[in-house]
């Protein structure tokens, strides 16, 4: 167990009433010319919660309200029972136990990388010492070193921000936010300003955050692939309002959502790497009490694996088929049918050993198969992406 985990756990235990799940209660009303944010949500204060929506949907404004960077006239935010804003209370940003990663790295150009990292770390240590000098000394001591190691930026410490690449800058900015030992990490599209290669460079670090740290994360994004890869909980927003909120698969597999991921409609499943097939360079992922074969990504046996199955890659058959090139064929049960963006297409929600999976097919095929709820079918998955 690492220092931060200990840190967060002791604090949560201390700050929470027993038996209550840690959560964030956020209620904000902001009315600007041409834009209204109207949100009243309870979010889990654990794991990664993605705030997903198009630009202008209010997700960034919501995040800024939570951080106290935006002072919503009408608002209430409570974190694990601690009120940060209500009619009487206003905790300014610098007193909220948050870390914030902006879309652009926003490093201080007049400080070196190390100067940037220690800027917040020094100040948060001071605050912690003032608050609880007598308490656990480990508390104050996360770990610039840990943040540096986690984001792999040890070799950059002496450089100026201007001498870093875009991806390096964003890694430093994430480490800088972690170095204040936040109890809640807010990330505002940290990858949006980067090109694909830089994104691929940073995503593994974000996954490490997810796996290694017990800090809850609110992650704003408009990129379905990031959400699929990182989120445990998904909140979709449109026009300043929350459309849907829940565990990621529950939201991703909803057929009634007006917001459509289009080509990206699909679900994610969590499993474990169970077997490696050296000859064919494949991995067997054990999940949903069955097995799926995916391309070998180099993951170790026993690793946690998240896979993504897009609706367009799933086809439905009445019997297990032979003589097909498709590796992954599973029994499933039809749950419901829904409309897709195009009138020729339908989305089918299926149950695969207790997990929802979406399939996209033409209405004609659905009709020919006579698909109806509770029907048993076989699904063939053309491509399974190991995330």
């Amino acid at each position: 167990m690492n220092a931060l985990e200990t840190n967060t756990k002791t604090r949560t235990a201390a700050g929470d009433r027993p038996g209550m799940l840690p959560q964030i209660e956020a209620r904000f009303r902001v009315a600007w010319p041409g834009f209204t944010l109207d949100v009243d949500e309870r979010l889990p204060a654990r794991g990664v919660t993605a705030l997903f929506g198009h630009s202008g949907s209010g997700k960034t404004t919501l995040l800024r309200c939570i951080a106290g960077l935006e002072h919503a006239a009408e608002g209430r935010i409570q974190f694990n029972g601690e009120v940060w804003q209500d009619a009487e209370t206003w905790v300014p940003t610098h007193r909220r136990p948050i870390g914030y990663v902006f879309q652009e790295a926003s490093l201080f150009p007049h400080l070196s990388v190390l100067g940037n990292l220690s800027y917040g770390q020094k100040r948060s240590q001071k605050l912690n010492q003032q608050r609880a000098a007598a308490q656990d000394p480990r508390k104050a001591r996360f770990s610039l070193e840990h943040a540096i190691e986690l984001l792999g930026i040890g070799h950059l410490l002496k450089r100026r921000p201007a001498a870093l690449s875009g991806g390096e800058r964003q890694r430093v900015s994430i480490a800088r936010a972690l170095a204040v030992s936040p109890r809640l990490l807010l990330m505002d599209e940290p990858l949006a300003a980067l090109d694909l290669a830089r994104k691929q460079e940073i995503l593994p670090y974000l996954e490490r955050l997810h796996d290694d740290l017990a800090i809850p994360v609110l992650y704003v994004s408009h990129a379905p692939d990031e959400v699929a890869r990182l989120a445990d909980h998904l909140v979709t927003m449109d026009g300043g309002r929350v459309q849907a909120s829940g565990p990621i698969n529950a939201v991703l597999s909803r057929l009634d959502l007006p917001i459509r991921l289009g080509e990206d409609a699909g679900v994610v499943l969590d499993g474990e790497v169970a077997e490696r097939d050296e000859r064919w360079h494949l991995l067997r992922i054990a999940c949903c009490s069955t097995s799926l074969w995916v391309r070998d990504s180099g993951a170790a046996i026993g690793d946690h694996a998240r896979i993504r199955i897009l609706a367009r890659d799933v086809s439905i058959a009445q019997a297990p088929s032979r003589g097909t090139s498709i590796l992954n064929s599973l029994p499933a049960r039809v749950l419901s049918l829904g409309n897709d963006a195009h009138p020729a297409l339908a989305l089918v929600k299926l149950d695969v050993a207790g997990n929802p999976v979406l399939a996209r097919l033409t209405r004609r095929s659905a009709d020919e198969l006579g698909l109806a709820p509770e029907q048993s079918v076989w699904i063939q998955i053309k491509a399974v992406a190991l995330l």
Partner: protein, 225 residues
């Protein structure tokens, strides 16, 4: 030495006046510049206009009002008298007060521009890193607007050195107390001592050129990207 003793005295006085004025303005003008740069108040326009007034007012107008205010019957004059300081006109500190007003926009505007060009983001980032507002100002805003401060300092200093009308109205022409270089040159010309006037004028010319050269070589605009 080809400058007379009175010339040197005038130059020394001028430099002293400009230095003191610049130092005072760093302290007085910075909060005003900060407020103007950050506020969303509807008073921003009017206050900004008042700050800019000395740019367009004839120095004699400014000097006249200051003279009236600091005179024995003016509000400032009565205050200084009741504090036992006496009257400010025709003293060095009277000149300093007048110069502070006269050079105010030369300090405020470059500093305000520098503050504005930082934008909100670095300050927001600092806030999320546990920095209080005052802390943010000193640890982020000041270092990032340093070039603006250098420009403002040089402009203010040079502008105070070049001041003439306000000095005549407030300071008069007392050797060693209020007779600055520009007034000294005026005296020489009035007395038809063109040789002396030339020498001192040449010194001022070279000085002014060097100051502006420093400003343009420093060129803070080019340093930021």
């Amino acid at each position: 030495m080809w400058l007379t003793e009175t010339d040197l005295e005038a130059i020394w006085l001028t430099l002293r006046l400009a230095t003191v004025t610049t130092l005072i303005l760093f302290i007085v003008a910075t909060p005003v510049a900060w407020w103007l740069a950050r506020t969303r108040s509807r008073w921003k326009g009017p206050i900004g206009a008042v700050v800019a007034l000395p740019l367009v007012l004839p120095p004699s107008v400014l000097g006249f009002y200051l003279l009236v205010a600091m005179g024995p019957n003016g509000p400032v004059g009565q205050l200084t008298q009741s504090l036992g300081i006496g009257l400010l006109p025709f003293t060095f500190w009277g000149l300093v007060v007048a110069s502070v007003f006269y050079s105010f926009p030369f300090m405020v505007q470059p500093v305000q521009n520098a503050f504005e060009s930082i934008g909100d983001r670095p300050l927001e980032a600092a806030a999320t890193l546990r920095a209080s507002p005052l802390d943010r100002f000193f640890s982020v805003a000041l270092p990032l607007s340093l070039p603006g401060f250098v420009t403002a300092g040089i402009l203010t200093f040079a502008h105070t050195v070049g001041e003439f009308g306000v000095v005549l109205m407030i300071g008069g022409n007392i050797p060693g107390v209020t007779r600055v270089a520009s007034v000294q040159i005026y005296d020489y010309v009035e007395a038809l001592e063109y040789g002396n006037a030339h020498r001192l004028a040449a010194v001022m010319l070279v000085f002014s050129f060097l100051v502006l050269l420093a400003l343009y070589v420093w060129n803070p605009g080019a340093k930021k990207r």
